[in-house]
Assembly symmetry: D2
Homo-oligomer: 248 residues x 4
């Protein structure tokens, strides 16, 4: 167990540590992930953003499903947590359509967009989120929501680099902007859930693990988006060939 | 296909026919089901009500789960219907605790109440609701909500007979009263969903079938409650022995 | 609990009682089910057999799936029982094609056969078999196999009446003959499983309940086949209209 | 798509390419994975092997389940492939007990062994295997079996290093030896399935992807075992503290 959580005193204090751990994890990613450097270098065209939006479409579509699945299990989770899971699932439903809309806004027809299978790293992210929602501590998925609902503060510079480099405006970035904006409501809600339902250091440790692992898996996904983009540039990819239209 | 739906013109008209079919199905049950006569005869003690509450606890606990499961499937159901399913699941969560509360209000301690396995007919009802939520027309489960959310008009006399015969007051009947009261909001919502999302006679036919079948299965469940009660009276049942405390 | 099982001494003796209970349940069905009289009256044409084969196709297709599902659960069932479930699933796979073959053997092309949705009573049977395989005592599904693998002795007269009335020969009845023939191997295997893995009267009681309930549900299914056949005769059914070809 | 599969001519030839791709992937892992160097350095005690066995226990327990799950889906996979999945599930059932046995053989009592939760990388491997069994091309899981059933040729030197360094004999390595031995039967069977059921380059491409990804995920798992071992050496881990008994 992480040293901090071993010294557990209150949920409020542990939540503060969780926030510090999130800062630290993002700092790690920002300083070492290949995709971060790639974006800051500004040497890419709209096809990179297109692949990113496609993979986002895939994993976001599953978010409400593994959120709701927690309440389908036989656990001793409190009724208000079960209600939260359904409510949150409802709110997340259809958000993949924002990524789809952004793709169309770049000049693709709906028929152009080939939504076949996600990349392997996207499937890994989806798979892991299903698994942790179906097994183990029912609270642990909060570790995913904890960063996913509150990322703007960490990626503001990256969004700026993308938007500037590709000359995008707001209507091309509805998913990223709406999802990275500090969503006061959701972010507050996740905080409340964590403080209300955690019963000690084990719950915090589980949430911390999911936070760290899912941030890594999401980071791996964007790394693979870069790899696929480079294949496209080198005319090696057939799967994303339809995105070449974005550079015409 | 039912003659009426063959002559399909509009959703509004078909909804009217659906309502008539519900009146007709309830009329059938009221005139022929054994449990209806049994209740109206007023020859039973609180143990009958106790068994009913236990079985209700079991099937009601599953309601939000098979409601939500519809949105976990890969169907072409519209996003607003998926959102409705999660929202409705959220609202139904924990309602089994009303049945539990009513049991306790009769004088049982929480520890007395043996929540083991439901009766076979209760398992059949639960099983069927899961199946129809997981397979076939994703709209068809609305046929269950259509009667379950709006039954007071049909069972008012039965509730009266139970309450009078057992000298129950409101605090002993939170589940039945809250669930059979014409819930304007829910009942209106189900109507809206049906009229908004049905695309023709096939959808109405599917909803009609689920309405009829689940009403029959619920009726069968109460018939089995009567059978179990009679075993208890004849000292044949061990499973519900703990309910004998209700007659002391 | 059934009196006999209360007096539980050994698995061997309890198994004998289980067999007696099966004889008794079949005797009840033979003496009271509408479909039994219907068949013995010999007043039906091949469309009745056609509807029966279609419904059989539907429920038989699911048999291996709910058989295997037991081993996917986290239970404390012994490894050899888990292995039995997979092995039995393997053996049952594709048996629905026998029913399909029999339909074709009557003169239908594969394209004629409309395998859409099963009847409500067939869905109830399927639904219940899934439920009992996913919840409760993992041994209890043996109560279904116990009669399903060894029915010839009970329905020999019925098969005779069908075959005689419709002038069928063996190649039209591959499903019924192969499945009702006393399958020495399977029947012996089920017996072994029951005697090997049951740990006392509760296990036998669970198996007995599933035997009785699934026999009733199967009997209900054939009753509904009769009802559907009568609709077809009265030109009321559109769903099975393609079976009219069998009487040309 | 991989160049080789684009030039697809026959299944036999594509299978040959798949084998070459497996050689290549293993060569990559052998030359670059941290855990390979770690093992060849022979600087570890039996606790490393203990952690490896625990994680192996966790993922191996799930193998038959996600194998069988393929046949529970509604796909157009041929019946003989469905039968293979059940049969293979049956054969894999209980193999986790070999890992458990090996742990006990080192001197742990069954009660000492704390089988709580697997490591994150083990959960990722399990999660991904479930996902690919439940979605996408039903043949693609063969890419996992393709390497998992035939690994001895690749890891013989590593097994030698472990066994020599820890003075293990055969009875301490039942899992590794039985599973890495070239299992003529299984390995032949997987080859047959691939050649029999693949219908063109897309199937081979799917199988190739799963082979590569699952080999990477398994390699990541052993990397995390090394990390956990190092924590144990530095007295930082509490989770695996019970393994310290192995060095007494």
């Amino acid at each position: 167990m992480t040293q901090k959580f071993k010294d557990y005193k209150t949920n409020e204090e542990s939540f503060k540590w969780l926030k510090e751990a999130r800062d630290q994890k993002w700092a790690e990613i920002k300083s070492s992930a290949k995709w971060v450097d790639f974006i800051m270098s500004k040497k890419f065209d709209r096809r990179f953003y297109g692949i990113y939006l496609l993979e986002t479409y895939h994993y976001v579509k599953e978010n409400p499903r593994h959120q709701a699945i927690i309440s389908l299990r036989d656990t001793d989770a409190p009724i208000n947590y079960l209600k939260f899971c359904y409510e949150h699932a409802e709110e997340e439903t259809g958000h993949e359509m924002m990524a789809h809309h952004d793709l169309e806004s770049l000049g693709l027809n709906s028929d152009d967009i080939d939504i076949t299978m996600p990349l392997a790293s996207t499937e890994i992210l989806i798979a892991y989120l299903y698994r942790i929602s179906q097994y183990g501590n029912p609270l642990r998925r909060l570790g995913y929501s904890f960063w996913a609902e509150d990322s703007y503060q960490y990626i503001q510079d990256l969004l700026g680099a993308i938007s500037e480099n590709l000359s995008l405006d707001k209507k091309n970035m509805t998913f990223l902007v709406s999802h990275s904006t500090i969503d006061e409501k959701h972010s507050k809600e996740i905080e409340e859930m964590i403080i209300r339902f955690c019963k000690g250091p084990d719950d915090f440790e589980s949430i911390l693990e999911i936070m760290n692992v899912t941030l890594t898996l999401q980071s791996n996904m964007i790394d693979e988006v870069v790899v696929e983009y480079q294949k496209l540039v080198e005319n090696k990819s057939t799967k994303y060939g339809f995105l070449n239209k974005l550079t015409e």
